[in-house]
């Protein structure tokens, strides 16, 4: 027995994994396969579909005046919505982290509602609420504000569907900020505004930017919630995702893919740039300049 034991101990670990967690090869393989099937393949399909067009055709489709107008509408509404979410999401995260109040758990859960709700349901609900006869619509009409079936409605729908991105990225960072940092700043004579501006905000900044960027890119592609409230008037309140849908309805798959590729490239570039900026910012904080 002692012989077999010593043999077992003496056996060299040739070709065997020395990692603590087993199954690295298998899990990586499954992940890559999944990424390829679910994410890369459709994107490839998009490229293949588009590549059937000549460069001139491609350019013609994506610079169609009505489409260009939809870019503008989409960009400014998405920007407004995500900036609004940056402010409101920060406030919401702040309240959820810093204060204790009855029903806090519930509010925390409700934040995720836009993710859980089918976007079409959200769109129909918002359209009903903001319509001239709706609860909010009536009040806003008195103020002379029209939301439903205008670009403002697009902003509302976009803000609604993407608010969780900001809250959920800012919240954990806010939780991690030690109360001592604020106390230290106050003991050094700083007023509240200065404490926020000089101590809290720089720590939250990367998370806010990420949240806003996610919210923005999500808004660029939002479809379901918007079409019910936007009114979809050509040149006024048509978003790019609607243009893609219209092309699909016309069975013009190539044109649809061409427009889609514009959205895709914009989103990817933005996310990539933000990632790059953020890693540099954080590297500085962690002292690995």
């Amino acid at each position: 027995m002692s012989q077999s034991a010593s043999r077992a101990i003496g056996r060299p670990l040739v070709g065997r994994s020395k990692r603590v967690l087993p199954g690295f090869g298998l899990s990586l393989g499954i992940s890559l396969l999944f990424v390829s099937l679910v994410l890369l393949l459709p994107v490839t399909g998009l490229v293949v579909e588009t590549s059937g067009m000549s460069w001139d055709q491609f350019w013609f489709v994506i610079t169609d005046p009505r489409v260009v107008e939809s870019y503008k509408v989409t960009l400014w509404t998405a920007l407004s919505a995500s900036l609004f979410n940056g402010l409101f999401g920060l406030l919401l995260a702040w309240v959820l982290v810093r204060y204790d109040f009855p029903g806090k758990r519930l509010v925390d859960a409700v934040v995720d509602l836009p993710f859980a709700l089918p976007t079409a349901v959200a769109g129909i609900t918002l359209a009903t609420l903001f319509a001239e006869t709706g609860w909010y619509g009536q009040l806003l009409a008195r103020l002379g504000l029209e939301v439903a079936f205008t670009p403002l409605g697009i902003v509302v729908a976009m803000a609604f569907t993407s608010i969780p991105f900001v809250v959920r990225t800012v919240q954990p960072v806010l939780e991690e900020i030690a109360p001592e940092d604020e106390e230290a700043a106050m003991s050094l004579g700083a007023r509240d505004a200065r404490v926020f501006r000089k101590v809290l905000f720089p720590a939250l900044w990367p998370a806010i930017v990420t949240g806003v960027a996610l919210s923005f890119t999500r808004s660029l592609g939002e479809f379901g919630a918007i079409i019910f409230i936007a009114g979809n008037t050509p040149y006024v309140s048509e978003v790019t995702s609607l243009m893609i849908f219209v092309r699909l309805q016309e069975y013009d798959y190539a044109a649809a893919s061409a427009i889609a590729s514009v959205v895709l490239i914009t989103s990817l570039t933005l996310l990539f740039l933000i990632n790059l900026w953020q890693s540099r910012y954080l590297r500085r904080l962690e002292g690995r300049r």
Partner: protein, 375 residues
């Protein structure tokens, strides 16, 4: 600036963290708040700073009531255990923070701030690290930067919450000396919280011992060590050897152990507290005492030889410790398992229901001859 703590009580929910604490911290002195965790020392410090508010009582700076004043208006310097440096600011920016935060009419000009920061960096001996970020510094460096930052606005009061708690022993010793020198140079009133009795006794002019939200004793370090006021302070200030027994006639007895007491206390239960340096080891019982022991361990590290003893023929809750000099040890070495007897020079007797001890002295001269050479 002197600090007066007047009848402070503090609750956290139903838990009372401080019970009617009153203290006077004289101007220009370095005071230690010493106590085990949960004794309320940090809470008291934070109330003095204004980072925490009390349910009852007042805080006075130089006779002026500051209880209602916000921390930012109290003009104190506060140093946190974990430094609390702003990690997105450089060392120089951290130090300048308090100066930049001053209202415009009091704020020095940009070049003056730069000059002041340079001076402070010189003072903490880190001028070469001005443009580093906190994450690039060691713990000791961080704490020095935190100190410089707290001192930048020239507060009259410096409050430190376990300032050396997160540092390793070597750095801690250095920083302690450095803080003492700094204090002697600038003469602000300092209060620091610690659970390390050695740190408190070494560094401070006055020690406030706290336990369970109450002040147990306030004294200068030497007086505190010489005359602890209560069982708690004894237990807390280093090791203490205890003989619990009953006084009959003139003798405190338990099992085979006995000590003859000077004076004539009435018959009752009592405890005799003896500190490691107040006891001698002798090979035979003396006329004063018979405290038989078996030597358990001998530790040669440090300025003294520390001998651990377990009672033979009687009982003690904790093991006894006796310190002897290396010279004595060389003359008469002790080995593990040997039988020795202890005899007291000075002792502190707690009678059954007494809060405070009676200090007793025994004349050493004659028994040494009777018992042969003792150590």
């Amino acid at each position: 600036m002197s600090i007066v703590v007047d009848g402070i009580s503090k609750y956290f929910g139903n838990f009372q963290a401080l019970h009617d604490v009153s203290l006077e911290l004289p101007e220009g002195k370095l005071t230690a708040l010493l106590g085990p965790s949960g004794s309320g020392k940090t809470t008291l410090l934070r109330i003095i700073a204004g980072l925490e508010s009390a349910e009852r009582g007042r805080i006075l700076f130089n006779g002026q009531d500051v209880t209602a004043l916000h921390v930012r208006d109290r003009n104190i310097g506060f140093v946190f255990q974990h430094y609390a440096l702003f990690r997105h600011l450089t060392v120089a920016q951290n130090i300048a923070f308090g100066l930049d935060a001053l209202p415009r009419r009091e704020r020095p000009s940009k070049p003056e701030i730069r000059k002041r920061v340079a001076e402070l960096l010189e003072m903490i001996q880190l001028p070469h690290l001005a443009n580093r970020y906190p994450s690039q510094l060691s713990g000791g460096q961080k704490q020095r930067v935190a100190l410089a930052r707290a001192l930048a606005t020239q507060p009259r009061i410096l409050l430190l919450d376990e300032p050396f708690g997160a540092l390793d022993a070597r750095v801690r010793k250095d920083l302690r000396r450095w803080l003492r020198a700094l204090h002697d140079e600038f003469h602000f009133t300092s209060v620091f919280v610690t659970h390390d009795q050695e740190e408190a006794l070494e560094l401070s002019d006055q020690v406030v011992v706290m336990s369970q939200g109450r002040v147990e004793q306030v004294d200068a370090p030497a007086a505190l060590y010489a005359r602890p006021d209560s069982r708690f302070v004894f237990d807390f200030l280093g090791h203490v050897n205890v003989l619990s027994g009953r006084i009959q006639g003139q003798v405190l007895r338990q099992g085979e152990a006995w000590v003859r007491l000077p004076g004539q206390p009435p018959e009752q239960d009592a405890q005799l507290y003896l500190r490691p340096h107040e006891v001698r080891l002798v090979p035979k019982p003396t006329p004063h005492a018979c405290l038989p022991f078996t030597v358990e361990a001998v530790s040669l590290i440090g300025a003294e030889v520390r001998v651990e003893l377990s009672p033979a023929g009687w009982e003690s809750e904790e093991i006894w410790e006796v310190g002897i000099s290396h010279g004595e040890f060389a003359r008469q070495p002790l080995a593990r398992g040997d039988r020795w007897y202890a005899t007291p020079d000075v002792g502190h007797l707690f009678l059954a229901h007494a809060e405070k001890p009676d200090t007793l002295h025994w004349e050493p001269a004659h028994y040494l001859e009777a018992a042969g050479s003792g150590i």
